[in-house]
């Protein structure tokens, strides 16, 4: 009797083994993880609350802008700048969600392409009525353009305020600040409204492991964001990792100067929270990619990724708040931060995707 049981167990296991093709064992295990609970947590506790937060911040920015336009004095400029910086910080939690209406509208291209193009901005100011939704204006719109308008348009605050109060061209400058902020607000509303009215349900239902499923696209998007938006744009490009010499004028927040590091750290935290499923508002824990990896017995990878993210945070934390100065004074610390981020890229893009059995849907352009 005992032996019969063993035999039948062995037989069934053997049968399963023999008839599964290739990677299917992994696949089966992948399929049975409740991806829906992961996607629901992402949508309800991370993505939508972050969009709502940005929408609210941009609402404050709109009011601050109206006050500044009515009375362009130092006090109103300070309030406007503070609202700008707070919105820019919230934005760091959103740039990685390039899916749904955000993808359809090239949202992040409209919000955060830098370095901004001051020639185009000046043209737009002079001409008036620029179509900021036009892709040609991606590098003359969004946070980086506002950075220039609020910090870079004069050598000091007096000059900046004089510009806005100038009888000949002050109004044109006010109009441009107004258009920039209104456009950021309106496109954010489009993306947010879609999430709350339609896309949320579509997103959490699209759980299958296929190239077009929401979850696979989302995973690819946030890895791409980490590699491009975070690693390359914030650190690698200014540090000269993609050019023959450093390009300090390409830092994020170039005209504010003292904010580049805060923006990077905020982006890194947002990424790590997304990975761990941590709720946006409350920091409560929820179902994250960590749970998915744990389900696949890859607790080792969860630890590796979190440790390496912490390592990257440590390397970034020792940088000057002002990357422009950091690059000019000791660029080695920038490239060390880049290297720490690159180590994360390998873990998430190769090891994590292999564990999830998800294909990379983008390629780097480094072939020959």
């Amino acid at each position: 009797m005992f032996k019969k049981i063993i035999l039948s167990i062995t037989f069934s296991i053997g049968f399963m083994f023999a008839c599964s093709e290739g990677d299917d064992l992994d696949n089966n295990q992948n399929e049975s993880f409740d991806r829906g609970s992961l996607q629901t947590n992402l949508a309800d506790n991370i993505i939508i609350p972050a969009y709502q937060d940005l929408s609210q911040q941009l609402g404050l920015l709109v009011s601050a802008k109206e006050n500044f336009i009515a009375n362009s004095n130092q006090e109103n400029l300070e309030v406007l700048r503070n609202n700008f910086l707070e919105s820019y910080m919230v934005w760091q939690s959103l740039e990685m969600f390039n899916i749904g209406k955000a993808e359809e509208n090239f949202y992040h291209y409209q919000m955060n392409v830098y370095p901004t193009n001051i020639d185009e901005i000046q043209d737009n100011i002079t001409t008036g009525n620029a179509d900021l939704f036009n892709p040609n204006n991606n590098d003359a719109a969004g946070f980086p353009a506002l950075d220039y308008m609020l910090y870079g348009i004069g050598d000091n605050d007096t000059e900046i305020l004089d510009t806005y109060n100038n009888q000949d061209y002050g109004q044109n400058h006010k109009n441009y600040v107004s258009s920039l902020i209104d456009q950021m607000k309106s496109i954010t509303e489009i993306v947010l409204n879609d999430w709350t009215t339609a896309y949320r349900d579509e997103f959490i239902a699209s759980t299958e492991n296929s190239a077009s499923s929401a979850v696979n696209k989302f995973v690819n998007d946030f890895i791409y964001y980490f590699e491009k938006g975070l690693r390359a744009n914030k650190i690698g490009i200014p540090a000269g990792n993609f050019s023959s010499s450093p390009l300090p004028h390409t830092v994020e927040g170039y005209y504010v100067r003292e904010t580049s590091k805060d923006l990077t750290l905020e982006a890194l935290n947002a990424f790590q929270n997304l990975f761990n499923g941590t709720h946006y508002i409350t920091n409560d824990s929820g179902v994250g990619f960590t749970d998915y990896l744990n389900y696949l017995d890859r607790n080792d990878l969860v630890n590796l990724i979190n440790n390496q993210l912490d390592e990257a945070r440590a390397k970034i934390s020792i940088l000057d708040d002002n990357y422009f100065d950091q690059i000019n004074n000791d660029n080695t610390k920038m490239t060390q931060a880049y290297d720490a981020l690159q180590t994360v890229v390998v873990l998430i893009k190769v090891d994590m995707l292999q564990a999830f059995n998800i294909s990379v849907d983008y390629v780097d352009a480094d072939g020959d």
Binding site: K3, L7, T10, F11, G14, F15, A18, C19, E21, G22, G236, A239, G240, N241, S244, N331, T332, T335, Q336, Y338, D339, Q342, T343, V346, V350, S359, V360, V363, D368
Partner: protein
């Protein structure tokens, strides 16, 4: 009795279910022998599938650059432009019509540029690129202005060998053009071969395995991505050959040339065939989708190509030592070549450890020792012997084997 039945049943089940998936079959066939063709010739439906024009171009660019480094009329900007060529710029004379000026390739971006050693270590990669930049800059700014002066300790200038050849050295007796050229063997060629194109991070990137298993070809090409990556590794050693199916060796100033030199040392004869055969068999293994055999060839290639660098490093230290004090210009020339091969050691790949045979910090130490004080003017035979012994020991050959 029952113990016997179980495996029997299992075998039956396996046999009945396993024939519908190529990948499973391939994995099962991983230990079967792969037949390598007689030469590095691979075709698909009658079309040649081997391609490595980018490698041939880069080798040709490096050739022109190391020649230009000996032309005292050149300026730094034009030499930098040859190193970091930008598509369309007229940086090269291009005698072999390889369309170098139109090419999007350059050498600098592939210097300390491998996936395995440098993708997460841009800090070291930048420092290494900066070394090459500084050799160009110092050649132009320190050596070219002293082209007519006789070198002495602390002073750059010319030094004439007993045979008549004139060498142009810096204030420490180092020829920058030799340092530059010989360091490329490691930083550019061996690094790209051993730590990039032969690495799993590149060969198996993305969907390369699935695509190779299913003969999914690169758009508009006759090869799979994995086949092509392998060919690109091959191209960095044989890219200057007229005919890859019967390489003659000694056709460039880099690894191809020094493979020929090492082959000519009876202690290491056979290495050229070993390397060619490993490239052939590994490529055939990719065609046969047998990645076990492929990876065995990778190990052979990493070891043997690293050996070229280790052997030549020791060789030049020993030849330089013999000439020291007798014919200083010759000694400095040899030691300058040795400098470059020592620099190259940090890019070698020991298949047992997946690390260099000689680490970057050891290399930095050797370079500092050679350049201490007045550099080659006062380096001693004991120092050169000790360095030779240390390096030879890391590879497992003897100084005597390398020296003749």
């Amino acid at each position: 009795m029952k113990k016997l039945i179980t495996p029997l049943v299992l075998a039956l089940v396996l046999a009945s279910c396993s024939s519908d998936d190529d990948k499973t079959d391939n994995n099962n066939n991983n230990n079967q022998t792969v037949d390598a063709p007689a030469t590095y010739l691979f075709t698909r439906n009658g079309e040649n599938t081997v391609s490595y024009s980018g490698q041939s171009q880069r080798i040709a660019m490096a050739e022109e650059l190391i020649s230009a480094l000996k032309d005292e009329t050149r300026d730094e900007v034009s030499l930098d432009a040859m190193f970091a060529h930008v598509e369309g710029d007229q940086d090269f004379s291009d005698p072999d019509m390889l369309e170098l000026n139109a090419s999007s390739k350059n050498v600098r971006s592939k210097t300390a540029g491998s996936a395995d050693y440098f993708s997460s270590n841009s800090t070291d990669a930048n420092a290494i690129k900066a070394d090459f930049d500084s050799w160009i800059s110092s050649q132009v700014n320190d050596v070219f202005p002293n082209w007519e002066n006789t070198a002495s300790p602390g002073n750059a200038g010319l030094a004439q060998e007993l045979g008549g050849s004139i060498r142009y050295v810096n204030e420490k007796g180092l020829e920058y053009n030799q340092a530059f050229a010989k360091s490329l063997n490691g930083a550019f060629l061996a690094d790209q071969i051993c730590n990039n194109y032969l690495s799993s991070a590149v060969l198996d990137a993305g969907d390369n395995i699935t695509n190779n298993d299913n003969d999914v070809l690169v758009d508009g090409k006759d090869y799979t991505t994995m086949e092509h990556k392998w060919d690109e590794a091959f191209g960095y050693l044989y890219g200057a050959e007229e005919d890859e199916t019967s390489p003659v060796l000694g056709v460039d100033s880099f690894l191809n040339k020094y493979l020929d030199k090492v082959e000519g040392d009876s202690d290491f004869a056979g290495i050229a065939d070993d390397i060619y055969n490993a490239f052939k068999l590994g490529r055939a293994a990719i065609v046969a989708k047998n990645y076990t055999v492929r990876d065995e060839q990778v190990e052979i290639l990493r070891e043997k190509i690293s050996m070229i660098i280790g052997i030549r490093a020791v060789y030049y230290l020993q030849v330089g030592k013999t000439n020291l004090g007798v014919d200083n210009a010759s000694a400095f020339h040899d030691l300058s070549e040795g400098f470059g091969f020592i620099y190259s050691l940090q890019f070698t790949r020991n298949p047992m450890t997946d690390a260099p045979y000689v680490s970057k910090s050891m290399v930095d130490g050797y370079i500092n020792t050679l350049m201490e004080g007045n550099g080659f003017w006062d380096v001693t035979a004991e120092t050169l012997d000790q360095m030779s012994e240390d390096i030879a020991a890391e590879f497992g050959f003897t100084v005597d084997q390398a020296a003749n």
